[in-house]
Amino acid sequence: MAKKITAPFTAETVTGLRAGDSVLITGTIYTGRDLAHKRLTDSLKAGEKLPFDLAGAVIYYVGPSPAKPGKVIGSAGPTTSYRMDAYSPLLMEKGLRGMIGKGNRTQPVLDAMKKHGAVYFAAVGGAAALIARTIKEAKVIAYDDLGPEAVRELRVEGFPAIVINDMYGGDLYETGVAKYKKD
């Protein structure tokens, strides 16, 4: 049974989640991938205001395809997360509490999740048309020049994800694979 959670997150949202939990996310999340992460980080280092409030924020690693006429967004599945690893610890230090992507994270990210209290979720990579149905509104709020990499504010309803890494060190990729590995 999937847990229903609301974004942005509170401290309780994060403490209540464990690796392996299926969730349905409703609320506001932000898109950001490679170049957006670089710009957000550069802004933080320069002491500039960010295009959205990081407190409790959830970032979805996605570069959607363009919306067809009459649609809110195009296909919108997750991109591979490790490319954001160089930037994520600083964003967590400044308030980021949730990340949605796919694929394994590196140790500095996992350490920062424990230290600051954050969760990493996977969405199903390549189920991009299916996932798009849970996105009810989308608007570009920063870095429009980056095209698919611009930061979008999304209003989602019942966005399906699964907790990969919780703030307690749980790792679904490790335990899941260990269960089915044959020597």
């Binding site: 170049l35 996605v62 570069g63 959607p64 395809s65 363009p66 919306a67 067809k68 649609k71 195009g74 296909s75 919108a76 599945g77 991109t79 591979t80 490790y82 796919k102 694929g103 394994n104 996977a122 199903v124 990579g125 390549g126 189920a127 991009a128 048309a129 299916l130 798009a132 149905r133 980056l146 095209g147 698919p148 990499e149 699964i162 679904l172 990729y173 335990t175 899941g176 694979v177 260990a178 269960k179 089915y180 590995k181 044959k182 020597d183």
Partner: protein
Amino acid sequence: MREIRFDTIKDAVAKLCIDANCLLGDDVVQAFKDGLAVEESPTGKDILNQLLDNEQIARKEMVPICQDTGWAVVWVEMGSGARVSGGEQYDAIQQGVAKGYKDGFLRKSIVEDPLRRKNTGTNTPAIIYTDIVPGEGLKITVQPKGGGSENMSEVKMLSAADGAEGIKKFVVDRVARSKANPCPPVIVGVGIGGTFDKCAMLAKHSLLREVGSVHPDPFYAAMEKELLERANKLGIGPQGLGGRVTALAVFIEAFPCHIATMPCAVNINCHAARHRSVTL
């Protein structure tokens, strides 16, 4: 000499880009269904079912299966008895890709320089591989290739002494190290032989094969079967969450080799294994 019009090629390429991105091949859909029968993980089964649902939505609404609509890799077999009229073949293909990605609401994923990273806005340039073949036809295949799985690919210069086991170890290890990143269940393209660059091209070309097809050479057919079994013992499973179905297929293309070398390339494809062909 048969003439093929510039606009005929351009329009055909545009349609191939759209169709390849929105209509998953029957072979891949069948492989998902076959995977459901052997997958032991409930989560893995759930994911395979979601991929089947996703494929149906994409087909019905003509939207991309995956938001990463890929780098347009275009394979051209140009008959020596055919010529293009009204412009250059290269331009017709590039303009066709730009048109397809615009008209089909496909994502533009190409930046004009690897370090300065400004998006070209058209998803061009396409990567074009051309062969001149006998006849008067023109066969064009568009293979949109996603970036996430491309990142899990690798070329290794092995020695003859490494033998078949060296190749197998490298291939299985490459799948193992890719873990959840390339959107498993994956299709594993393997190039063996040729030069450093040729073997990478062989690996990419092998990904055009139909899932479920058997290699015509029994030696490589047996190696493909063994590699697929070994990949599926890794436990990575759909989306890397654990399970039996890590790979849907392993395809090998071999080529003559220099006496000093034995290069091997592994080109990983995500489960959205897309390609479409037309003969003009």
